[in-house]
Symmetry: C2
Subunit: 433 residues, 2 copies
């Protein structure tokens, strides 16, 4: 049988075992920190010269000038026109569905006026410019371009700059095609910490941006942490996770492969089945044992399931919900008859896949919602990537003469209480009576 | 004359001088990092025992048991009933106005259904629990309690836990009264890194929370960075800033004191006047020279204006707007006839105070919008603290049988393109034709 932990929620020591299973901390070791610090400092001071040097060193690409780092738009269009028609169509439908969904997230400015004529509100504006990091080489994901670029464009970001390394000159045509579909404004062949530094500080060739998003390896993640404050960043993602809750009535082969679909991402990925049906747990275990042999990425899947996977048998639906809220999974599948009835009880999950037909993989590619989701229990306090990550707000306060008279007294009282007399004076200068 | 830099936007070297003036990086030195690492590790492993030890050491408070760390609710109510009536009324009006404003920020769940019966949407829920750090001792600010607690409560956070140090037993009655007004659920006499660690990891007495907000010194800020990921945090604020843009027609005394009202926060605060009227610049300079003598915090104000303040003379309104968007100030005063006309051109500012009657200080205390705002040019990509910081979203995806048939093919095509065959299989199991 396939090697995966079997747990019962009522066993002694269960909660401790679960906590150990869920524990995950991304730690950048000192040597990674040192390299990233040096690379970022060099790019900040030497600009393009440093980029050309690091691209030669890390990606084995010899370029003469900064200008050669840019992939011209005509090249993106060419990729779009030469990939197979089925791929192009799938990318275009995916982009359109993601756009349709995200358009519903756009937030508008608002104001209201009080009786004395004072106006209050919030002005919502798009970020000016955003950098999108796309990993290169073998794990190049066009879906990641769509999921990061579309919300930025829907928000109204005017300069969306993509960086993607092309190690040994290897270019992913689908990634370039996706950039064309998403109307990315410029693409540079850059990766690693040097790409992040270029986007944060700007060079002769690469324009500085206001926020950097997109997935990357430990060097990219460490560089993003380093430049945070100079620019905004999205979350630093941990390994991918899925929790499937099934009442026992879905085809066990379907559930087995749903679990595989996250486990295949990498050896640290986490796939957990929760069910109140112990026999069904056996069936899924048997399906996994049978089906893993058909999976090209079976080594990765096997390691992930052995090290971080689990089948958890619970007493009933109530206990299943309790598990879900403790685990706060990135992806939650509710493979049950009436998933809508469970929604009000689910407090923490990045995305909720409802019903037996909603494979998690549909959400990764084309259902519409974003596939950039909070991992490692951070769904307790954070949200999927969305248009709101590319908009920002400014408070609006326009106090009338009468309003200044009323509010000035209150502010003066409180400022006195805090010992901030210039605040008090500033407020009271506008008080008439 | 008061010592403040006078700049003209058309001088040679102006932009470099401006960049130097704006530069600000919060750096935790190694000794702070070492102390914070040790304190957090000790609290994580030893719980209440570590809290009692550090509270004795840093706040000179000898307590016997963890339970003594809690300030009972009856004590909060007592503070509310014993502070002067004018203070109580001012706090209550402030809280009510902040509540009214923030209620307009509440976001609701939404869904929509597609032609084939597929349902998509987003479920919005409050965070379960939030920790609020309030500085103690002399710089204890009740307004900070209101500005952090009210948005959390409006969002629906059920457990709002406040920590406030009481060094040498010194308690700020207005802070406790504000906690009573805001219906904070529990208050502990804790400060520094140990308070942050207690909120992040939980102890026998202090419950672990999902997010920590509120201002603090370098130890608090460093601890917040350290526990980020285990819990959410708000932004790490830099020094306070104000940019006043005035057309020259506001009373120069008013503008002088508006500039003082930020400069008095601390020596690193930044106050900048931008005007196209060079004579008005002189008048404000003269007003500052005259009025600083009346300010109890004149030493701080003088140092802040000398080190980080500026009066910038520009050619015209267009150039003033350009300055505003480069500086991206935390607080922006538009002291002009028609501030509404300028709004569409202002891309970056934490809060915009419009018209001659809107002293920035009104926004600090009682106008309604939040006073926790992005500093150090981060208004380019971040927003005032709001209800949205205490809500989170889960994507909803419920694909119909027909939808699975269509979407399964698209997802399969894209998963193949990315070499993720388990994803493809999972999607295709639900395809019928």
């Amino acid at each position: 049988m396939l090697n995966i932990r079997r747990l019962s929620a009522n066993e002694a020591g269960f909660r401790e075992e679960l906590d150990n299973l869920l524990a995950w901390e991304t730690v950048s070791n000192q040597s990674v920190n040192d390299i990233v610090n040096e690379v970022c400092a060099r790019v900040r001071s030497d600009g393009d010269a440093a980029l050309l040097e690091y691209t030669a060193k890390f990606d084995r690409m010899q370029l003469e000038t900064g200008a050669q780092l840019e992939i011209p738009k005509v090249r993106l269009q060419q990729a779009l026109e030469t990939i197979p028609a089925a791929q192009r169509e799938a990318l275009e439908i995916s982009a359109q569905r993601v756009r349709d969904y995200h358009e519903r997230q756009v937030q508008d400015s608002w104001t209201y006026e009080e009786a004395d004529g004072t106006m209050l509100g919030q002005q919502v504006t798009p970020l000016d410019s955003v950098g999108l990091y796309v990993p290169g080489g073998k794990a190049a994901y066009p879906s990641s371009v769509i999921m990061n670029a579309i919300p930025a464009k829907v928000a109204g970001v005017e300069r969306l700059i993509m960086v993607v390394p092309t190690p040994d000159g290897e270019v992913n045509e689908m990634v370039l095609a996706a950039a064309a579909i998403c109307e990315v404004d410029a693409v540079f062949t850059l990766g690693g910490a040097q790409a992040v530094a270029a986007l944060a500080y700007g060079t002769e060739t690469v324009p500085a941006v206001d926020k950097i998003v997109g997935p990357g390896n430990i060097f990219v993640a460490t560089a993003k942490r380093l430049v945070f404050g100079t620019v905004g960043i999205d979350m630093i993602a941990g390994p991918s996770e899925i929790l499937v809750y099934c009442d026992g009535k879905t085809n066990p082969d379907w559930i087995a492969v749903d679990l595989f679909s996250q486990a295949e991402h990498d050896e640290d990925a986490q796939a957990i089945l929760v069910t109140q049906d112990a026999e069904f747990a056996d069936k899924v275990h048997a399906s996994m044992t049978k089906l893993i042999e058909t999976m090209p990425r079976k080594e990765i899947i096997g390691t992930a399931l052995k090290d971080r996977g689990a089948i958890i048998v619970v007493d009933n639906e109530e206990q299943a919900i309790e598990m879900i809220n403790i685990i706060a999974p990135e992806h939650l599948e509710l493979s049950v008859d009436d998933p809508k009835a469970l929604l009000p009880k689910i407090r923490h999950a990045g995305a909720i896949f409802m019903g037996r037909f909603t494979a998690e993989a549909l959400g990764d590619y084309c259902a519409g919602p974003n596939h950039v989701l909070p991992t490692s229990r951070t769904a307790r306090f954070s949200s999927p990537l969305g248009v709101y990550d590319f908009q920002k707000r400014s408070s609006l306060i326009m106090v009338s003469e009468a309003g200044a008279n009323t509010l000035g007294k209150i502010a003066g009282e409180l400022a006195d209480g805090e010992g901030l007399q210039a605040h008090a004076a500033s407020a009271r200068y506008r008080v008439k009576d």
